[in-house]
Symmetry: C2
Subunit: 343 residues, 2 copies
Amino acid sequence: MSPKATIYDIAKELNISAATVSRALNNNPKISESTCKLVIETAARMNYKQNKLAQALKSGKSHNIGVIVPRIDSNFFASIIRGIEEELYPHKYNVIICQTHEDEKREIENINTLLNTQVDGILMSVSNMSSENDRVIEKVLEKKVPVIFFDRKKNIHGVSSVTINDFGAAYAATKHLIEQGSSKIAYFTGDRSLEIYENRFNGYKQALIDSGLNLKEDYVIQTKSNVEAGKMAVKKLLKLKDKPDAIFSASDFAALGAIQELKSQGIRIPEDFCVVGFGNEPFTEFMELSISSVDQNTMEMGKVAAQVFMEQINNTDKNSKIEKKVVLNAELLIRKSSSKESK
Amino acid sequence: MSPKATIYDIAKELNISAATVSRALNNNPKISESTCKLVIETAARMNYKQNKLAQALKSGKSHNIGVIVPRIDSNFFASIIRGIEEELYPHKYNVIICQTHEDEKREIENINTLLNTQVDGILMSVSNMSSENDRVIEKVLEKKVPVIFFDRKKNIHGVSSVTINDFGAAYAATKHLIEQGSSKIAYFTGDRSLEIYENRFNGYKQALIDSGLNLKEDYVIQTKSNVEAGKMAVKKLLKLKDKPDAIFSASDFAALGAIQELKSQGIRIPEDFCVVGFGNEPFTEFMELSISSVDQNTMEMGKVAAQVFMEQINNTDKNSKIEKKVVLNAELLIRKSSSKESK
DNA sequence: CTGTTAGCGCCTTCAC
DNA sequence: GTGAAGGCGCTAACAG
């Protein structure tokens, strides 16, 4: 039993041609049932495995797709990837994972590597807004390899995207805080050159306006998405003359940091101060003081991104370019950190 | 500019042969500097990308590896995968992700798919102990495709593994509880047909024995790794005549459930009851009552698994089979849920 | 129904 | 230094 049997080995074994073996293995109806059965048995006996590399080379379809994310070890991206993998599994697509670590060079490298690997499509959450990266993506499209953005997207002609309704979710979160009686609501944002953060900011702003509240520049703080950053930001806020009475944070981690710092300064939550995060990280639910947050519908985002990809490659009409913009709903989950009534 | 340029396109453009183009692109020293430069420039201009499929078919190395895990959206597996990806990135290996969802059939399918895809190696955390799956893995080895287990392993001849010192960690955790004054320590286990859980159980048992304590069958409860299961298990324990005064849980999630249930029954932690989990899930650190846990050194586990894989494929000596068993250290992190002094 | 042939894109002897 | 030819494993067109 040679390490790797090919259809030729099977053909020789049975004194038939390789083409017949190939056909039998692919259930070609023109093959007699007897030879078909014989081939399949022999293949199993010889531990034959079809070489998809050869098949891919021949057909031009590798049945691999590439997924590019900033990092995989975050609940957010991991569950999107789970969604993608599960959706694509029945279609026999493999998922190749790449991490950028938010590095623009790495993002370009990843795209090129995936192209070399002949992936049939690229699903990505962009790390970088540079226009050089735009050009690289445009080159991908020239090669007729579909690109689909999820969550962090750019506006590039011909690229579909799947996102959540960041504006609406931020609007709802802010409104909720206002309804809880808060009127001085601070906002923690991520890098606003990314659409998601810009949209969340706009939702926040609009909710204030619609409630007759003013946007205070001092209340808007850019933070990294980690606990320490949340603490720092609260320290800044509490130094203001006119201190806020609530925070809407675009990051759950920063929200957690904020809560820890507020508590350590003796401020009671939610009685004196309400906090809402974003992302529905597992810990927000697990805390004794559970944290209100926005669920980003991650599994669904992954699944839909995969579905859009499938539509794209099944679109045989080469003239009509599909460019789909799916916006999923994101649900505000109200928990203890912002529920005055229940307490 | 055609969708996908090949070396033939470049050759035609420059009126040279494809072989020369190939050599130039691969920095073959025999090529004159001028043509080399010319080729590289033209390739860039034509947006040429080397087709790794063809290269792989020719060379027999795909530069892809497969990673099989029960699920990817758990902090544990996601960060192992991160480690693997980062370690392999400089070596130009791509990572293909497969999920089994603990399903034995799925595990076999995944292995076969990866084999079809011609991966150069398979890194996996086993989902199933059935001997049918053993045979499938043995067939992989026959094809000279290295297999490496991480965390959940089996003993199969020729398969290397990377695990943590589950016995030692469980021993340390149990000892720690005893030192805190607990003498009636319950244990939540996972499926003991998996080595990791068996080893943790043995560590627990040995620590009891070494401290002159008896193992009580009633105190050992098999739980799923989720919050609800932890609550259920505590309910069972509190119905016993001789109630325990501490829990060592092989799952952080079950530990969390246990804590929630204990608190709701008015039992004070850590004063009346200590709890230690396993896994160092992010939330264990974030809780107001932070949960003691064992850090499983996940990133490192991934990196080392990748390193072992690299060693394996670089081992040209076909006679000597490498079979490496790496056991990493796992650190007990003592937090509030089991620190009587500090409270 | 089955065999023959050619080619997917690349690399690698073997020539010159 | 460079070109020509063959083959990695598979499939599809064309014969028969």
